[in-house]
């Protein structure tokens, strides 16, 4: 059983990680080329899939997926624990949200892997 201290430490670290990832993303969109050009790039599905060719980029998207899933579902857990208090409710919330988070991470990982393999040709 992971302690609340550890969960919240990861929560804070993933929050900072998401913030940094968001800053890098916005910086990339606005600073690497004229915005219109970057938006056109995003609108092209082949170009997007091409991003996954680079293993480091694909891995960073995987890391972002895990960070967002953990941070989001842990935040939801905190909200639900504050709304109602009982050991049974707490157990149910913990289990249900852990399973949903894992499903989201597994499905997202599958998508990233497929995109990476397609991009590799």
């Amino acid at each position: 059983m992971v302690s609340e201290r550890t969960l919240m430490l990861i929560h804070y670290l993933t929050g900072i990680g998401i913030l940094i990832a968001g800053a890098i993303h916005i910086g990339t969109v606005f600073l690497t080329a004229p915005v219109e050009e970057n938006l056109q790039f995003s609108n092209s599905p082949f170009a997007v899939i091409n991003v996954y060719r680079n293993a480091i980029l694909a891995a960073s998207l995987e890391a972002l997926l895990i960070m967002v899933a953990f941070h989001g579902f842990n935040g939801l857990r905190v909200i639900l624990l504050e709304l109602h208090q009982s050991p049974r409710w707490e157990r149910a919330v913990n289990w249900v949200l852990t399973v949903i988070a894992l499903v989201v991470i597994i499905y997202g990982t599958r998508t990233i892997l497929i995109a990476h393999l397609i991009a590799q040709g």
Partner: protein
Amino acid sequence: MEKQGEVIFKVFRYDPSRDREGRFQTYKVPLVKGLTVLDALIYIKENLDPTLSMRYSCRMASCGSCGMTINGLPRLACYTQVRELNSKVVVVEPLANFPKLRDLATDFDGFFAKHRAMKPYLIRQDREEQENPRDQYRQSDEELLQYLQFAYCIKCGLCYAACPVAATDKEFPGPQALAQLYRYYADSRDQAEGERLEIVDNSHGIWRCHFAASCSYVCPKGVDPALAIQLLRKALLFGGKR
């Protein structure tokens, strides 16, 4: 005392033997210089309605008995001048987040139980010393300043009434208890830092604070419970005594 007009008091009334819900009753109180909300409530009880129930004692912001919601904010009635409210109507209600007993009196049993759960006393590792201390414990000025402001707490419950987390999570210890935990944690004479931190490192403990800081805003004694909570979190995350 020279009368300077009248103030309308809308006072929350609730009798559990009769009412399912509370209601407001209006009284007119003569305004005199220096009139506090507690003075006005005592005037109502002595002259207009002897059935009004409230809790008070020292009348000088020392005992923490007369906490109530005055014009929407938790305040001490004895410490709140009617003039400073700058309003012709003063609305007085019981403290939020506390079970209502009758009229303005609320039940503090749960609040004090949370306070007691923090072990608000010095703990020494030597059991014999704990029960029969042989000597005084010396402390420098710097060591005293580590916790002094938190020792000013009078357990009036205003911070607990203002806390948005205490409103929804009934197991959350609340700012008063957490500030008291830090008060003993930071005391150089105490030897139970690990034991104290364990008390609040759980799913309804210190991590549930959202740092609204309303506790620190309403404290009539200048205690900063929000700071204590952040310092406790720092101790839990990064370790290190004081």
